[in-house]
């Protein structure tokens, strides 16, 4: 995406004030996003390591992230096309990274 046209000064000022006003909340969200990024990275790496795919408990074990949270990330990654469901393994399904999927964590690459 190219850079959008230059916003005029008044808008810039207004945005600045808004940022100021929401400062606290923005800081909290940024904090959350940092955690999300780290956890997503761990999950992606674990998925890449388990070429055949991994079950949620296995991913939880491998990453140290609580299994319900792993499940939430998997559902999210699946929704954005980054992860696909694989074969069944006991009571669980395995999940693996989709081929040539774009990352949905928002990284602009």
């Amino acid at each position: 995406m190219g850079e959008a046209q230059q916003p005029d000064q008044a808008v810039k000022e207004a945005l600045k004030r808004l940022r100021q006003k929401r400062q606290e909340r923005i800081r909290e969200v940024a904090e959350q996003v940092k955690v999300q990024k780290a956890e997503l990275k761990a999950i992606r790496e674990q998925l890449a390591a388990d070429g055949e795919g991994a079950t949620p408990p296995r991913l939880a074990e491998g990453t140290g992230i609580e299994v319900s949270r792993v499940m939430w990330y998997l559902a999210t990654l699946k929704r954005y096309g980054e992860v696909v469901e694989g074969a069944k393994d006991g009571g669980w399904f395995r999940y693996r990274l989709a081929n040539n999927a774009r990352q949905s964590g928002g990284e602009e690459q």
């Binding site: 940024a30 999210t76 469901e85």
Partner: protein, 431 residues
């Protein structure tokens, strides 16, 4: 407060669920002009969020989307979503609604629904449209078949990082958008504000919403929906395919101590429906419904119930006293079986609560229509015209006047439209 622009129409419909849509269509098809105001980001109400619907097991999207689309495209219907009704007053033969359009932080006229903002956004938030089971973004199209297909930004989760604005091909993102006021004047109004479910959060006997793998029926609808969070039935706690699923009926109803003394009316049928869908998805799973009375009263409903029994779904007459979370995500259900000896305990992998149905909206301080002891909108001629409220020219339809399944809701919406059109015809004659 600035009053903003004024829109004039024949009939105002409050609520764009299936009741409001049907009423609007039945009015608009007669040539009346209709404005629908909807508080949510999309029209469609609860129904567009359901999986398949009893008693025919049609896919809910397939039945709701045509109605949504025909309302959205109707020459005589104008829809405003993401609105808040500030006041609804009636003076002589004019109904006046003051409405606030909440900011989406996305220009509705410019947005083309391409979702590029959503892909660009770095913030993951639990998706309320998927029962919280999957993440979505802080800016997003609410769900795949939402109408309108316009993105909205959730300021609570926005870092103002600017990525969405940069990704938007039409420059639609507007962080500075402000609420706008407008006024709708009409001759008549139909209230179709629907229902809400009570929350397990304040039910200690069900673990106050903290026991893993205890979910609500609406969450189960999402799990069963074709475009749900997992695209299959899994336990949200750990992704295991459940072998044993239990439904707890009247988990918030028919019990004064829970604040809902009345019957929530459609829970028996949706539990049976969900049980059937589950047994289709997981043929080997054990499915149990704990109930007090099975209320399968509508056309074809009793047959639906008997079919479920024949499919092997177990019906256990008994009141569930308590739920208990066990190691590994198992849930123990403590219940008093009607034909048993005292309290029994059974373990399940997943437990679904049929919570109580309460009104979505209270007219208090907004509109002079009165409500009943059950807090739903009171109807003054429940036998001969169940759509009449105590405010002349203002009618009610659907779950706004008490829990009602879709079939009954649609019939009532037609009835409200009929009453409203006759009222319109009468006031037109007066001048």
């Amino acid at each position: 407060m600035t009053s903003g622009r004024t829109i004039t129409c024949d009939a105002l419909v409050v609520g764009g669920g299936i009741a409001g849509l049907q009423a609007a269509l039945d009015l608009a098809d007669q040539g009346f002009s209709v404005v629908i105001i909807e508080s949510d980001l999309s029209i469609g109400g609860k129904m567009i969020r359901l999986s398949k619907v009893f008693p025919t097991l049609d896919c809910s999207s397939c039945i709701t989307t045509p109605k949504m689309a025909s309302a959205a495209h109707h020459d005589n219907i104008t829809i405003f979503t993401w609105c808040e009704l500030q006041s609804l007053e009636r003076d002589n033969t004019t109904v006046t609604a003051r409405v606030t359009a909440r900011p989406r932080y996305v220009d509705e006229e410019k947005c083309i629904g391409c979702r590029k903002c959503e892909y660009a956004c770095p913030v993951l938030v639990p998706d309320p449209e998927q029962g919280g089971f999957s993440g979505t973004k802080a800016i997003r199209i609410p769900f795949s078949n939402a109408i309108p297909q316009v993105a909205a930004l959730d300021p609570e989760h926005c870092m103002l990082c600017g990525r969405c604005a940069r990704a938007c091909p039409t420059g639609a993102v507007d962080y500075l958008q402000q609420p706008r006021q407008f006024t709708v004047t009409a001759r008549t109004a139909v209230l179709a504000t629907g229902f809400e479910m009570t929350s397990p959060g304040d039910r200690p006997q069900y673990g106050n919403g903290t026991i893993a793998n205890v979910i609500t029926a609406l969450q189960m609808e999402r799990i069963l929906a074709p475009h749900g969070p997992y695209n299959r039935v899994l336990r949200p706690m750990d992704g295991m395919e459940p072998d044993s699923i239990a439904f707890v009926q009247c988990a918030g109803s028919r019990d004064l101590s829970m604040g809902v003394p009345y019957c929530s009316r459609f829970c028996c049928m949706y539990a049976i429906k969900q049980a059937m869908l589950l047994s289709g998805a997981l043929p080997l799973a054990d499915i149990v419904i704990y109930y007090m009375d099975i209320r399968a009263f509508g056309k074809g409903y009793e047959q639906f119930y008997q079919t479920a029994k024949a499919m092997g779904i177990q019906f256990v007459k008994g009141k569930v006293a308590r739920l208990q979370g066990l190691e590994g995500g198992t849930v123990a259900v403590h219940y008093e079986a009607q034909e048993g000896e005292g309290v029994s305990v059974d373990n399940h992998d997943l437990v679904v609560l049929s919570m109580g149905v309460v009104p979505h909206w209270s007219p208090e301080g907004i509109c002079r229509v009165s409500t009943g002891a059950d807090r739903f909108i009171r109807t003054v001629r429940p036998s001969l015209s169940p759509v009449r409220t105590d405010l002349e020219g203002v009618f009610v339809a659907g779950a706004a006047s008490g829990p009602k399944d879709i079939v009954d809701t649609i019939a009532e919406a037609g009835a409200a439209a009929m009453a409203a059109s006759n009222y319109l015809a009468a006031v037109r004659q007066q001048g």
